[in-house]
């Protein structure tokens, strides 16, 4: 494994609720992306994965506030906090150029009264005032040709494009400035299967061509993740509970939540026919008032008395980390899947 491209530490983000109370959505999370790799970020809806993505893309906007967090990327050290008034101006130069976002629901990501070419020019100019229109368009044209996409798209409005084409176009715009890191937030979930495939192939080709040097791929679609990613991080209730190489995590899950998440997915392999699909009992906790100790303990089949008392610290086994009391007691053991059935 080569060096670390991005390391974000102690990221904490809260939503301001209407009542005036803050709900922590990301709680002191530290995450790394190795150079040239794709990190998958998975978890149930509401676990904070999109919020973490927004914090890292530096686009947190009220009612979301990033109250702490530091990101080291390339030679930059960026304070991710958005509490101070100047945070927006501080973050702006990094957005799109250093860290870029491929948003959830790209359907409406482009202003309906804007031609694609206008957006391209605006993006280039936002980072270099002196860019001429022709330069910006040349660059976009080259990029489209390189990715074997039709150049005429530039002259169109968003509503003239199909869903898949729109999503790929948004991907091209997001990566136009060769950002170090691309955060792809559920980029495939609104697409049909063939468009999903086309988009994923394009993303892989972009990584291959070193257009970006790392990707965080956020989705709850585990089959896609296991296909695309090099590493996986599993989030539960605002915290990362387990992280490691994808293959390792899929075959040797160390956290009961990871195991339960994986077993709730149908994998089209030989054994699938004979397997039971196991759901996860209960529902995700209320983040305004999370369970004590390990946040997963009320739903966990392996919960022990200490789980509800003390928060587990990360246990590092080679490049596989897990925060779980059971895993602490059972070094290097895979969580036995079938136990859930009892």
């Amino acid at each position: 494994m080569s060096g670390i491209l991005m390391r974000a530490s102690n990221v904490t983000a809260v939503y301001a609720a209407d009542s005036g109370q803050d709900v922590p959505a990301v709680d002191n999370v530290t995450v790394e992306v190795p150079e040239g790799q794709i990190l998958g970020l998975a978890g149930e809806s509401g676990c904070g994965k999109t919020t973490l993505g927004n914090a890292l893309a530096m686009i947190a906007n009220p009612p979301l506030y990033v109250i702490a967090g530091k990101m080291e990327i390339d030679d930059h050290e960026i304070d991710l906090g958005t509490l101070s008034g100047g945070a927006n101006q501080l973050h702006r130069p990094y957005r799109g150029a250093t860290v870029s976002l491929l948003p959830q629901g790209a359907m409406n990501a482009i202003s309906p009264t804007l031609r694609i070419r206008d957006l391209v020019v605006d993006v280039m100019r936002a980072h270099d005032r002196n860019t001429t229109k022709a330069d910006a368009l040349d660059r976009a044209t080259d990029r489209l040709k390189m990715l074997e996409m039709p150049v005429r798209v530039l002259d169109q409005y968003a509503h003239q494009l199909s869903g898949g084409m729109k999503q790929r176009m948004v991907t091209v715009i997001s990566t136009l400035l060769n950002p170090a890191l691309l955060i792809a937030d559920e980029p495939t979930s609104a697409l049909d299967v063939s468009s999903q495939k086309a988009l994923i192939e394009m993303l892989l080709a972009m990584v291959e061509k070193r257009i970006m040097r790392g990707v965080i791929f956020i989705t709850h679609d585990l089959p896609v993740l296991s296909m695309v990613t090099d590493r996986l991080a599993i989030m539960y209730a605002g915290k990362i509970v387990e992280a490691g190489p994808t293959e390792e995590l899929v075959n040797n899950a160390r956290h009961p939540y990871t195991s339960a998440l994986l077993s709730s997915v149908l994998d089209p392999t030989e054994e699938t026919r004979t397997k039971h699909v196991l759901g996860i009992p209960g529902s995700p906790p209320n983040l305004g008032n999370p369970p004590t100790g390990c946040r997963f303990h009320p739903r966990c089949a392996f919960a022990m008395p200490e789980c509800s008392l003390k928060e587990p610290q990360f246990l590092h086994e080679r490049d596989h980390s897990v925060a779980c009391w059971w895993a602490n007691d059972h070094a290097f053991e895979t969580v036995p899947m079938e136990v859930n059935e009892a």
Partner: protein, 335 residues
């Protein structure tokens, strides 16, 4: 639905509305017991005219206005004459043609309303967009002020401004459109004189328009601010000024409709302001016509108000048909 069918259906609907409006305009004043001439002649009687003279006037008016004809004939006559631009003759200023009276009044109304609507629209939209974007104290003060102005009856502001700025402070002349002894003419001297009288009614209409537009734009822009493209543009590092432009462009489309519609209500939208300021426009003409039972003038004024509104609405719908195929598709479902 194709563009052609859309245009055709809109045209049919608006023609229908126009026909109904013309019929109502014709019919409603004739629904009263007796007829308008009775009213005007009896008021002559109160004025002390001899019954012989009354009778003569009565017969002349009945003949002149065709009121001795059957209703159906009257309607055909009415229709033919308005199609020829002939709005009849005034009762009160007989035999002055109504169109002459309109021609004297309409320019004054337009001179007040057109700039008030257009400038109010521009300033209001900018204020509303900035308020929505900046939020906080800016938003609070702009929104509250705009809400006060936009929800205030427009003539109430006129009365207050007239009293405070003209009567008490004496900054402006208290009513009228030009100095006594002057008469309307195309000269620089008259223009500067009239301008002094123009400011106050203009200002009172302008403030109301700014308020209304700012409130509308603010809520449009707040809606746009929450949209995906704003978030995405932010994630690309696009600056605030550019983003405000995107929001503005998108929030603008409905606002342009608003502009066209308020230009349509131009003639009928400031009637009372003119009364308050004693400004010789359509409002004052209408008021005087009502108080002297001058039916031909009232009917002409209401007809012009209606036609202006219908034309503006129609123009907006047609424009939309050309601008945006999506709107055409979605709107055609709604009659």
């Amino acid at each position: 639905m194709g563009l052609r069918r859309y245009l055709a259906s809109k045209t049919v609907w608006y023609l229908g509305a126009l026909v109904v409006a013309v019929i109502l305009n014709f019919l409603l004043p004739r629904l009263i017991p007796g007829n308008p001439v009775d009213v005007i002649v009896s008021s002559l009687g109160q004025g002390g005219a001899s019954s012989e003279a009354q009778q003569r006037v009565y017969e002349q008016f009945m003949k002149e206005f065709g009121l001795d004809q059957p209703m159906w004939n009257q309607f055909v006559t009415y229709l033919t004459s308005i199609l020829h631009g002939n709005l009849g003759k005034s009762f009160a200023f007989y035999p002055t043609p109504v169109s002459d009276l309109i021609a004297q009044s309409l320019p004054w109304t337009l001179a007040l309303q057109l700039p008030a609507i257009i400038i109010g629209w521009i300033v209001g939209n900018v204020l509303g967009a900035v308020a929505a974007y900046k939020g906080g104290g800016w938003d609070k003060s702009v929104f509250t002020t705009s809400l006060v102005f936009s929800s205030m009856p427009y003539y109430c502001l006129s009365i207050i401004l007239l009293y405070v700025l003209a009567v008490e402070l004496g900054w402006f002349p208290p009513g009228g459109a030009y100095s006594l002894g002057n008469s309307p003419e195309w000269s620089w001297a008259f223009f500067t004189d009239a301008l002094q009288y123009w400011w106050l009614p203009f200002l009172s209409l302008l403030l109301i328009n700014i308020g209304g537009q700012a409130v509308g734009m603010r809520s449009m822009a707040i809606y746009e601010l929450g949209s995906d493209y704003v978030n995405y543009s932010r994630s690309l590092g696009i600056g605030d000024a550019k983003m405000t432009r995107y929001i503005f462009n998108n929030a603008m489309l409905p606002q342009i409709t608003g502009l066209a519609l308020s230009i349509g209500t131009m003639v009928g939208g400031a009637l009372i302001t003119e009364l308050v300021f004693n400004y010789p426009g359509m409002g004052t003409l209408l008021f005087n016509a009502i108080s002297s039972n001058d039916y031909p003038v009232v009917q002409a004024v209401t007809l012009i108000i209606t036609v202006a509104v219908l034309v503006a609405n129609y123009a907006v719908e047609i424009l939309y048909g050309f601008i945006d195929p999506r709107i055409r598709a979605s709107k055609s479902g709604e009659k």
